[in-house]
Every structure is written in structure tokens, then in C-alpha cells.
Amino acid sequence: MSGKFKSWFLQRFPIDTQKTSTVMEKIFIKEPIPKHMKYWYYALGATPLILFLIMVFTGILLTFYYIPSPAKAYESVVYITEEVSMGFWIRGIHRWGSNLMVIAMFLHMGRVFFTRGYRKPREINWVLGVLMLLVTLTLCFTGYSMIYNQLSYWATTVGTNMIKEIPLIGAPILYLLRGGEDVTANTLTRFFNLHIGFLPTILFILIIVHIIFVRMHGVAKLEDKEDEETYSFYPEHFYHTLIIGLFLLAVLSALTVIMPPGLGEQANPNVTPPHIKPEWYFFAVFSVLKFVPLKLGIYFFTALIIVLTFWPFFDDFIRRKWQVRRIHYWVGSLTIILFLFLTVFEIIVQ
């Protein structure tokens, strides 16, 4: 019976099973992993991927109940949180997952940065990584505005207003994003579309390309240790990943109970609450923008993003021109210190 079915199946789907399994084995099972990856710190790359999958799963579930209209959005979030069985859990995982995803990406990037994993010939994968960070942050921003409570509504208003400051293209982009002059029903549906359709697709494609690049180049070996021994992906690294996944799920689930996602007050376009705050990972940006003129701030961060994106090339250029070998240490440490300082400052200020 099964033999019959197998032949029927293979006639319709002429897959060379022999070859496929060889390829699979070569690509996944036997993927050579450098010895240093046994240290946890070096294995953070899988974390954002696992979180992405969790986010996709919980996100799809949330769309079962979420209604992207100003009149119903907040109510439906309340409904999900309070009425639907396990609703607070799904929503909590999605909410905390977004935070952990940002942290995981920061950590992964930090590791790659300090070990110069982006060095030739892997510059393009770093660029892809930065793009993924930007897409993720945009996902966080659009996702936050879905709740449609006072804070998220005004964070959306203020956040999108900044786009206007970008010269020339700012105003049209703002109009495009908001679907009008103000944050309205159009804005919510557009953000909803971005959040569940466009951006996840982009992120998904970027992830695939990112992984393909990793496989093509092989995992970067430590600098000055190019002859490092390797071990195969399965079983050890597989378990590694599995443990990370389980750990994340447990932490996220625990967080939903310990710190359940809040609801706040329903958005009221006529009343601006006294303290509007973005999510914590925007605190540093928020803090700088408070102290410098808005235009200057926008230019500054645009420049920063460009430098960050093309850092491997800058790094290479600087190293060759001035023969400084440890420049990335200084730049990285300074960035982290500044980021932490501004974030903590903003937390203390409120």
C-alpha cells in the first residue's frame, strides 16, 4: 500500500530522494560549525529566528480577533486580553516576544560586531542584518500602534510626525503612511497592513537570504583562528537551538503571567496624555531628539544608520588607511555606553 502510494507520489512529484537527502545532509545535518560556537554567547543568531517564528505564529492567531478600525481596535484588544481563553497569553507572548527580539538582535549584532564577523567577504550579510534590524524596529512601531490606546495613539502621531522632517520626500511619505493629514482610520489600516503583510514578508525574505549567505560563506571563524576545528550541526547544535527555543517559550509564557500586557486607556484624539513615551528601545533616540533641534536630530540619525549599515566597508577603509586594528572596539563600546546611558537616563527622568 505504502509502496504504491510512494510511487504514485513520486510520479507526480519527481523528486530525487537520494540526491535530496544527500543535499539536506550536507546543508543542514552536517553543516560545519566552528568549535567556538559551543559557547552560548556565539550562538545567538538562532534566537531572533526562533522569535520570528513565534511572532508569526502568535501574530496569525491574534488576527483572528483583532479588528483594525479606530472604533473597534481597542475594544478588540480588550476582548482578546480579557475574554478569549488564553488570549492574554498569546497577546503577551507577542508583546514580550517583540521586546526579546529586539534584545536578541542587539546581542547578535554586538557579538558579530566585536568579533568582526562581518569582515571580508561577509560585508553584505551585515548590511542585510542592519536592514533586518530596521524592519524589525518598524514592525515594533507599527505593532505598538495597533493597540490604539492613548499612549500608542500618541506615540504613533509623534513618531510619524518625525518623518515629515526628512527633506523633500518626508511630507509625501508621511501622507502615504497616514493616508491623510492626520492619524485616522486610514493610518490604522495602513499600519495594520504593514505590520501583518508587507514588513513580515520583507523580513522573511531577508532572513532566508541572510541564512543562505551564512551557509554559502560558512559560519565565520574567529579572527586569527582560521584553522579552527568544526563539528556538525546535528546533533549538538540542533539541541542547542532547541534549548534556546524552549527557554524562550518558557520565559515568554512566564512574562505573560508576571507582567501581563497592559491595556491603558482608549485612544482619545482630543486629549494628549501628559507623558508620551515610545517603547524602551527608542528611548535613546527619543532622548537625543529632545535635546537637539528636530531637523538636526533626523540628519544625525540618518547619518548614523548609513554608517551602521555600511560599517564593514568603513571599518576596512579605516584599518587600511590608518592602520588601527582595534577601531571597532572603541566605536562599539562607545555606542553601547551611549545607548545604555541615554536609555537609563530616560527611564530615570520619567
Binding site: 492574554f88 549538538e236 532547541l242
Partner: protein
């Protein structure tokens, strides 16, 4: 080998984390995030009422009335505008809504309310709230209190018993405000206090001064007065508001809109008398009193409630004796021409036993009934000590002194003799009622003080005879008489005579002598160098 161990460790870690996840997921599955919120019912506006609401909203006429209606239970049950404002051609209050062909009723009356709330309207119209007494038995007050005043004054409150052209009596929204018809507002003591306030019957003040009112104020925020009480269920609040005792039901009493069903006295009347109001329908005064007691006993011990009410009953009986004295004097002075009645074309406009406005005895007699006399009695019935005492008997006695002083000045020899008398008993020119002890406890020494207790060895025998007489006249129930007799027989106990607390009392006497010494030094004997500015 080491390889293998580390792999096993990893597998074990997978297991451990899985189990951790399982534990957390189980916890998650039992967490309840639901917050109870009151769902705001969706109010549907149906049929022709849509036109009412649309037009009223557009023109801005009584829009709040619509908002109020939307909060009502009526709105939730699809009872809308025309259900109450229904009118037939020729109805006294029928009119066409401007620019439309809607015939609507301007004043829904109890007749309209009775369409659904028949029992409530019937009960109400059998209550003294609906009684027309203020038109039946009264002198024409407007000779003194001009019509515009009686309109905005008397009539506004007495509108609760309005007699409508459609023969129905009453005004439901006097207590159930339009258009929410809220039960909670109707139960709010201040609703009763809209009328039951002020010098003639300060019931809201008495209530708020009583323990009942005080605790109500303290707990007010957490009380929900919007409860149903018609099904012989326990009183759902822990402290009574006005309606709790006078209207709401408990396990034994049905809820009623007849506020007269539980009142045993006509204590607002010029003479206190045991009520005969609709006896044949709702029973005699004893039946009515037993209803009230049944409510009292929801919270109080039977002994306390009965003793309390009996003590208060004696203020009503005592009041009559005081009034007898006032009436004797106003009648006497009218008969001998000292007081002249208002008269026009053979009709009198003042009355020596009801009202008069220009001579001191008339005013004193009127006040001793309509103001002080009621405060004296109602303060006692509803725990308003201050109203029985300072706003009650004090003012009554003051009126008596003024009346007799006036009569003496006018040459009345009896009055003169009274004014000149130095006998302390002169302030009791009437018979007395009393009860040994009080409902609250035994006071060892307070009963050693009263003059009559000491000066009249046969005091309690005189009182006994008076109480026996009112009992024989059916003004006290059998049970009340027995209760009084018990106190009488054991008065050494109830008056505290057989107990000795002299040593404790001595302690306070010593403290008091220190006070006396202190004010003597600080005030009485203080001499200032400057002389008075006005020299006598």
C-alpha cells in the same frame, strides 16, 4: 566519551526546559485575566420614537431628557417616548408637537404610570402622600403667606399629591426623577429631604443627625441603592435610608409605596393621635406599628426596638398635654376678647386652635404645634436628640413663657399669678408622662436629679395612673403596657437607684471643682485696670 556526556547533558537540558515550559503553560492556562466591567447596554430607539429623538436632538429641545431616558431601565426594555407621552384627542394635556402631526401628552400622570405600575400607583394613592388635607382642613394661609409664596412654597411640595384632571392622584417623578426614574435617586435620603426639611418637619436633618444617617454618610460611596426589594428578600444594605424603614420590604414585609402603612401615629397633626387612616384596608395602628417593628428588627433586638418606640410614643402623648395647655389659653384669651380673630363678612380667617398670625399666644400655639411640636415628636421617633431637646421642648417652653407673659401684661390675673410665681413646678402646667429608664442603658445617677422625682413622692403613682388611662383608651398596646409596667415595678433597677457608683462619681466631682477653681481665677475674679467705657 566527553562528547557523549555533553550531548546527554544537552538532552537533559532539553527535557528540563520542556518540563519548565509545561509547568508555566499549566499556570498560564489557569490564569484569569478577565476584569469585570459593566457592559453598557445598547439602547435601541424604535419605531416612531426615532422621530422624537431626531427632532428633539436637532432642535435642541430637552435633549438631556433623552440622555436621562437612555440611562433608564425603561430604555433598556424598549419603553420609549410615546409609551408614556401617549395622548388621545381631548386629553387635558394633549398637544401637537410643533410642525408635526404627533399628538403627545405634556404631563404623564399617575394614570399613565399605572398602565404598568398599577400596584405602586394604587399603594401611593392610599398613602398620606396623596392626601388632600392641606386643602381640606386648613385656614386660608394665603392671607398671611401671599399666593405667589404659597404657590412656590406649599404647592411645590404638596404637588406630590396633585389631583389631576384625569382623576388620578400623585406625582411619581417627585421621587423618581424624570427621565431616568432611578430607584437609587428615589432612595437617596436627600430626595425625601427635598420637602421633609426645615423648621416645620426637619426629617432629613433629624435623619442625618441620627446614628442611621451618620453611618449612611460614612458608607454612602460603597452603597448601591439601586436594588429590588419587592420579593421579600433581606434588606441588601447595612444601614437604613428613609425608604428602608418606610417603604422597602424585608423577609417579613412586602415593599410598599404607601408610606402610611407603617406609621402608628398622626404625629404631624395638631393633636397626636393613633392613626385611623384607611384602617379597614391596611389595619389599625397596632398593625401598622407591627410592620415598622418588623423592619426595625431586621437590625435591632426586639427588646430595644420596642422600648425605643414606646419611649418615643410618650413624647406624642406628652405633646398632647402641652397642647391642651396652649389651646386652653388661646381659647380663653379669644373668648374674653384679648385675642381678636381675623374676620370678614362673617367668615373667620384665624382660629384659636389652628393658626393666627398677629398675637403672641396665637403664634406661640401655632409654633408649639406646627414647628416645635413636630420637632419634639419626630426627633424622638427618629433618633434626633437635638430636635426633641433644643429645637423641640426648649422652644415650646419658651413659647409658653412668652404667651403667659403677654397675657399677664394684658391684665389676665391667672397669667399674672403664673408670671409672679417662684415655684419651680410652674413650668409644668400640664399632666406628665414618663417611663422609668431609657432604651440605651442604666444610668446610676441621672435620675437623682429631676425636681419632680424628688419633690413628689407619689410621682410614679401619678404617672402610673396616666399611663394606665392611655392604655385603657387603646393608645398603648397590651404589650407596651406590660413593658411599661415591668419597668415601673422594677424602677429601682431601671432608674439606677439601687446601684452605687459614688466613688467614681466623686472622681468627676473633684475634677469639676478644679474646673470651677480655674474659671473663677481666670475669668470671674479677673480685674482689669481700665473702667467700662459706658458707665451704668
Amino acid at each position: 566519551m566527553a562528547e557523549n556526556n555533553s550531548l546527554r547533558t544537552q538532552k537533559l537540558l532539553v527535557g528540563i526546559f520542556s518540563i519548565l515550559l509545561v509547568i508555566i503553560l499549566i499556570i498560564v492556562a489557569f490564569v484569569e485575566m478577565k476584569v469585570t466591567r459593566d457592559a453598557k447596554p445598547v439602547i435601541e430607539i424604535s419605531g416612531v420614537n426615532k422621530n422624537c429623538v431626531t427632532c428633539h436632538t436637532q432642535k435642541g429641545i430637552a435633549v438631556k431628557a433623552i440622555d436621562h431616558w437612555k440611562q433608564s431601565l425603561h430604555a433598556q426594555q424598549n419603553i420609549s417616548c410615546v409609551d408614556c407621552h401617549t395622548a388621545k384627542e381631548g386629553d387635558f394635556d394633549a398637544f401637537y408637537c410643533p410642525e408635526s402631526d404627533f399628538l403627545v401628552a405634556r404631563h404623564p400622570t399617575p394614570k399613565d404610570c399605572a398602565e404598568c405600575h398599577e400596584q405602586q400607583v394604587q399603594e401611593f394613592s392610599a398613602s398620606k402622600h396623596a392626601h388632600q388635607f392641606w386643602l381640606i382642613k386648613n385656614t386660608d394661609r394665603s392671607v398671611f403667606e401671599i399666593p405667589i409664596a404659597t404657590k412656590n412654597g406649599c404647592e411645590q411640595c404638596h404637588h406630590i399629591g396633585n389631583l389631576w384632571p384625569d382623576q388620578s392622584v400623585g406625582e411619581c417623578d417627585a421621587c423618581h426623577p424624570k427621565h431616568t426614574f432611578s430607584k437609587a435617586v428615589a432612595r437617596q435620603p436627600e430626595t425625601c429631604g427635598e420637602c421633609h426639611v426645615g423648621s416645620d418637619h426637619p426629617h432629613i436633618e433629624i435623619y442625618l443627625e441620627s446614628k442611621h444617617g451618620n453611618i449612611f454618610r460614612a458608607q454612602e460611596k460603597k452603597l448601591d441603592l439601586n436594588y429590588a426589594t419587592k420579593n421579600n428578600t433581606p434588606i441588601p444594605i447595612d444601614i437604613p435610608v428613609c425608604t428602608t424603614c418606610h417603604m422597602d420590604g424585608n423577609e417579613t414585609q412586602p415593599m410598599t409605596h404607601n408610606v402610611s402603612e407603617r406609621l402608628a401615629w398622626e404625629s404631624q397633626s395638631a393633636w397626636s393621635f393613633r392613626t385611623v387612616w384607611l384602617e379597614e384596608k391596611i389595619g389599625d395602628w397596632k398593625m401598622k406599628r407591627s410592620r415598622m417593628e418588623a423592619i426595625c428588627k431586621s437590625c435591632h433586638s426586639p427588646e430595644f426596638a420596642e422600648m425605643y418606640l414606646l419611649t418615643a410614643d410618650f413624647t406624642n402623648l406628652q405633646y398632647n398635654e402641652i397642647r391642651r395647655m396652649f389651646v386652653r389659653w388661646t381659647k380663653k384669651l379669644t373668648e374674653n376678647g384679648t385675642i381678636k380673630r381675623l374676620e370678614k363678612d362673617g367668615k373667620f380667617y384665624s382660629d384659636p386652635v389652628l393658626t393666627g398670625w398677629d398675637e403672641v399666644p396665637e403664634i406661640a400655639m401655632y409654633h408649639a404645634w406646627h414647628h416645635e411640636g413636630r420637632r419634639f415628636r419626630h426627633g424622638a421617633m427618629m433618633m434626633g436628640a437635638d430636635y426633641t431637646q433644643w429645637h423641640g421642648i426648649w422652644d415650646i417652653q419658651k413659647g409658653m413663657v412668652e404667651m403667659l407673659t403677654w397675657a399677664a401684661e394684658k391684665g389676665d390675673s391667672e397669667a399674672k399669678r403664673w408670671v409672679e410665681s417662684t415655684d419651680p413646678i410652674k413650668f409644668a402646667p400640664y399632666a406628665l408622662f414618663d417611663i422609668p429608664g431609657n432604651p440605651w442603658g442604666i444610668n446610676v445617677l441621672s435620675n437623682t436629679l429631676p425636681y419632680v422625682y424628688n419633690a413628689y413622692p407619689d410621682y410614679w403613682d401619678l404617672i402610673y395612673a396616666n399611663v394606665k388611662t392611655v392604655y385603657d383608651h387603646n393608645l398603648l398596646s397590651e404589650k407596651q403596657w406590660q413593658m411599661w409596667e415591668k419597668k415601673y415595678k422594677d424602677k429601682e433597677h431601671y432608674l439606677g437607684y439601687k446601684y452605687n457608683a459614688d466613688s467614681v462619681f466623686k472622681y468627676y466631682q473633684d475634677l469639676d471643682s478644679k474646673d470651677t477653681k480655674a474659671f473663677t481665677e481666670q475669668a470671674v475674679e479677673l480685674k482689669l485696670p481700665s473702667k467700662p467705657f459706658w458707665i451704668w
